[in-house]
Assembly symmetry: C2
């Protein structure tokens, strides 16, 4: 995972011995030596063979090796880098061919996934495959200003990204809550607007180099002109409303915004952006641009005058003026800008917009003079994505890849940057922005691809977004992995690969491998549970937590006023999105028939019996209340279900009374508790309906 | 844990609300603000209360706070720093008094351990206590040259050390296998003798500062003149035998050694040691001195001439000449030297030495002219420790605290730096060095303390030693924790605290808290097991692994030729020393009588049934062979035991045949497999003997 483009399996396995040797020929960047060394170490650790050394370098490559790599040329980590490769495993050896060393690095990850065992020896599975990515921009956004994720989190995330062939780390560094990167030009920024949590220039270099060694670009984002309270807290004279600003510690959308009409704003940004741009090798620089409420601009007469004088008749038009100035600054550092989709969409009424859409007047949906080299990141949906692509802007999709919203992997997996007739299109349950999503879906389903093949090429990829308001270094891995592996496959593998069950089967395997390279998604939840309970033996609690999920979407924040200083160490933080045990349990319920009940009744009995163990461990512990609550629901549901099954098996009638009580129980059990939902309720309800 | 010196419990608990506030008065180092901030965050995360902020600084302290800290003076992190404090928790508030901010930091750790819950609220348990350490040097050695432990391991180790009030990180940085610290003077050292794994000067500063904030000293060690192949690989002209040296990748004692007769050696060391000394604030610098075989000195005629000319009649005498020269170099940087106990002991025959001991001629046991300010670290036993102390050398004990040797916590716990009549003295099973240990024990047990109270004062503490030959960043935490908490208590708490059962009860609790601050000792073993099995559900395997331990002492290395490039990802690396489940199981066996068998039979049935689940998960997986092996033993033992119990309960005779078979089974099950031993065998054998 992600599945290669073309693959032919064979039984010609290559057995792994201590003598496994590697050689690379051709022209390549020295990063390949490091990748080969990592590969050799991982193979040794996976198979337990005692190798003489893991280190592969110029000096110690054998003339003839069991694994031969042929590289055509040195790779440069940038947009549209060549990541293609072929890989052949046969009884006598392994051959990798690639255009660049980056392709070879991708090939080594694929090869590692081919390790298997049989008859007490390990081998690489026989295979003949060619592979290349479907999209060139395959990213993961990591946000720093809400909860700072230190170096080791970034490194293990880069390792995990490399494993699933993602190639862009979108490094979100500034927002209302913090500015998280050292500035030598304005040191008060990192000193006073970061709570002491920021990356030094050396650390940024370390991250960029670490990413480069894995064929991953690092695209920084400083969110401008809104989402900038951290900057304005130190430079209030740059604000549209000049007053004292404190670092924000709540989550949400706030009004503070830079004043785009003052030259001093651009002087400041010239100095700052030039400094930051110099730290990152990649050609692309993200300038944010989202969620500018425009309120402070509206409240400032001088800004209003400026707009009139310059014929800028909307917030977005003024912001476009700002963006162009910022772009000029960044272009001096050789940068191309990326921004969120707000910056290109006209402020027009929904009905009017729909009318333009119906008529195919996509040019009327967008601003006229947004520079054509700008890359648009669509987070609000297909309306913006299609409009951008149709008007010739390179676009990347993030809507549907918001992994912070606790959707199942299948949801993200089926979300395609280029939706088509054959694609399953899921309307976004959080649809605040897509004003005519249903019309778009209807057209596409009706056979109108909406995009010509030429226009389609402007959709260059997608990005999973890890917004970290409710996520800490402890929990972030479980919010990213393994679900992001499914998104990585969507962005790398052929569009027609859409078998959800097979995706899950493979995702469960890759999950273990992701842990291998450092991801803590499997090991941190039990740790947190030990801490909550003060006990080492937490199995009964795990049985419950494996069946609940954190509230989806933005509901958690609606329930309580979470801030940067809230404790993110509770049951909801232990619960993970889309847990395997939940899928397994729901499958048992779905598969059960009145003739084949043994797995179901066994599970129901386990739920019922487990509750006393839960009480034993959790009673009186205020923090474990939600586990007790959901465990009690499970116990009651299990009792009712067992009663139902017993009556049915006896051929007795299940009375209206039972159904009424069951209905009440379903209703009660469906309610969230501790910001968590019990996720087996619907399946149980369906079972009863089916077998009524 | 460690237990305070004097403690009076009360029921006047202090309830924890979101409004919990902290104030510190008096003169103190700003490190206290950071400690208060960490404390507040941890309390919030432990109790789930939503505080407005965690940050405590000069500007935001309330006039009156629920937790008042009164500090007399600013603390300096150094030997003999004042760590004493008093702590009173009552219904109305909490008061900490301390001589220095370091004492206050120790008090906050104690206070954190007083968190409890009841009736759905959290509180600090009512208490009135005074506390100070028994020994001033309470250390943990971490070795870098065998398996490099990167920054995040060091940081989490420092956090865990602070939790259990250890105050010295002994940072072992150079050996035959690697030189692990950046040198700007000799950059080839870190570039070519570290496999790319070393600490930069900035990182060393970060470590020293991080430790200082937690009241922990950092004492570096460069092992000289032996254990220096890494240095000699780049500077062979400094060697006693000048030839090409490669970095060593095996473990053990090797002959390469510096030439102590050449001035160029001291010129080199002057430059290098002065550079390294400048990176560490602490006054103490460890120069190693252990395991110099002397062979290469004997093979060099010029060195032999030098010895004759200078009246140096033994290896250790020549080494003492070397040490004094090195000491002169370090004293220019204001450093006092520490070294292993070899450097002070005369090379005399064991019988002769015993004779001196019997006559109380301790001065005859040691070299005459070892500088008196030198600190001696005794790793070889009481002979050296007593000799040093009796001759007025400050001494620290490490023998008995070798946590790499997989001894149980109780073994380390009962090992006292100042053995006495009332102390349980455990002869060292690895006793290669203590030539008259049994005589020493006999004398002490006979009532002769051997040390006068004045002499006793020269024993200033102890150090746990984490030698990392068989330990990686993945496994190191489980080799250090929680056992080192028991050593920490030995070095901090009153000597008469010796209840092993109570120690274990508290150690199991502190284990969860250690995990809290980052230690991975509980979460990494399951991760490694998931990786070995490729499955998320590993419970049946855990049941077996919880009853086995890695081979103790140096036996693992005797069995196979492990190197720096061996895979330390096997079953033996998943197994941990002194696992709680093993203690629990052995207790069930020990407590069982023929009248009270239910827990035992339940456990035996579980072992028996578990085997098929083990086979299901592990069969055919070469790396899980040891689990299958030991699980099969468990199954067979359980079957035999159940048969024994059944016969006994029926009042039937258990035949000789059964006993013979059981004897064979015991013998077979006692044998190591996969470098691991099944640790319940002896208890089962005893049960049968007892109930025969």
């Amino acid at each position: 995972m992600p599945m290669p483009e073309k693959i032919i399996w064979s039984d010609e396995h290559y057995t792994i011995h201590a003598s496994l040797s590697i050689r690379a020929d051709g022209t390549f960047d020295p990063r390949l030596f490091k990748a080969m060394t990592r590969f050799k170490q991982r193979v040794a650790e996976r198979t337990g063979v005692f190798m003489k050394t893991w280190v592969v370098d110029e000096g110690n490559m054998p003339v003839k090796a069991s694994l031969q790599i042929q590289v055509e040329g040195s790779g440069v980590v940038k947009l549209d880098m060549d990541e293609s490769y072929s890989l052949k495993v046969s009884r006598d050896g392994i051959l990798i061919r690639s255009a660049t060393d980056i392709g070879a690095i991708r090939a080594l990850e694929t090869l590692f996934q081919l390790i298997s065992f049989n008859d007490n020896s390990f081998f690489f599975h026989g295979v003949d495959l060619t592979d290349k990515p479907r999209f060139s921009w395959r990213g993961l956004l990591i946000a720093q200003p809400y909860h700072f994720l230190p170096m080791e989190v970034i490194k293990r995330t880069l390792d995990a990204m490399c494993l699933v062939k993602l190639n862009v780390l979108h490094f979100y560094l500034s927002d209302d809550q913090a500015y998280t990167i050292e500035s030598k030009k304005y040191p008060e920024l990192h000193q006073k607007a970061s709570l002491g949590q920021y990356f030094t220039h050396e650390q940024i270099k370390e991250i960029v180099d670490y990413a480069d060694e894995r064929g991953i670009r690092v695209v920084p984002e400083l969110d401008l002109p809104g989402h900038s309270t951290a900057i304005l807290s130190l430079f209030p004279h740059l604000a549209a409303l000049e007053k004292k600003y404190d670092l924000q510690d709540h989550w949400g959308v706030f009004d503070p915004v830079m004043d785009p009409t003052k030259e001093s704003t651009y002087q400041f940004l010239d100095t700052l952006l030039t400094e930051v741009a110099g730290l990152f090798k990649d050609q692309y620089f993200h300038i944010g641009g989202d969620e500018n409420t425009g309120k402070h601009w509206a409240q400032n007469d001088s800004i209003q005058h400026f707009m009139k004088n310059n014929n800028l008749n909307s917030t977005v038009a003024l912001q476009n003026y700002f963006n162009k100035r910022v772009q000029q600054i960044l272009s001096k550092s050789g940068k191309t800008t990326v921004a969120w989709d707000e910056i290109i969409m006209q402020e027009i009424d929904g009905n009017k917009a729909k009318e333009f859409f119906e008529k195919g007047q996509y040019d009327a949906l967008i601003l006229k003079d947004v520079p054509k080299d700008m890359v648009i990141q669509s987070w609000r949906g297909m309306e913006a994505l299609l409009s951008s692509a149709k008007n010739g802007y390179r676009s990347i999709l993030s809507k549907g890849y918001y992994i912070d919203l606790v959707q199942p992997a299948s949801y993200h997996y089926l979300n395609d940057p280029v939706p088509s007739k054959n694609t399953q299109i899921i309307p976004d349950s959080e649809a605040n922005f897509d004003r005519f999503e249903s019309e778009i879906i209807k057209k596409i389903k009706g056979g109108d691809p909406l995009l010509t093949p030429e226009e389609e090429k402007f959709i260059i990829g997608g990005e999973a977004t890890m917004w970290t308001e409710h996520t800490t270094p402890e929990t972030v891995d479980a919010r990213i992995w393994p679900r992001t592996a499914a998104i990585a496959e969507r962005l790398w593998s052929p569009a027609n690969l859409r078998d959800v069950n097979d995706m899950y089967r493979r995702m469960d395997q890759i999950s273990i491998q992701l842990e291998w390279v450092g991801a803590t998604h499997l090991k941190n939840p039990p740790m947190m549970l030990r801490r909550l309970s003060g006990q080492e033996d937490i199995l009964p609690l795990q049985k419950v937590i494996g069946l609940i999920e954190p509230l989806k979407g933005y509901k958690r924040n609606e329930l309580d006023n979470f801030t940067k200083f809230s404790p993110y160490t509770q049951v909801v933080d232990v619960a993970v999105p889309d847990p395997p045990s939940l899928r397994k349990s729901n499958k048992i319920i779905d598969d059960a028939t009145m003739k084949n009940l043994s797995s179901l009744t066994e599970m129901l009995k386990m739920w019922k019996d487990n509750h006393s163990s839960v009480l034993h461990l959790a009673k009186g512990n205020p923090l474990l209340e939600p586990v007790i609550h959901h465990s009690a629901s499970l116990q009651q549901l299990a009792s009712a279900m067992l009663e139902f099954i017993e009556l049915k098996e006896k051929g007795s009638k299940v009375g209206g009374n039972w159904h009424q009580n069951f209905g009440l129980l379903i209703e009660k059990s469906s309610k969230p508790n501790g910001y968590c939902e019990l996720m087996v309720v619907e399946a149980l309800k369906q079972f009863v309906l089916k077998n009524r």
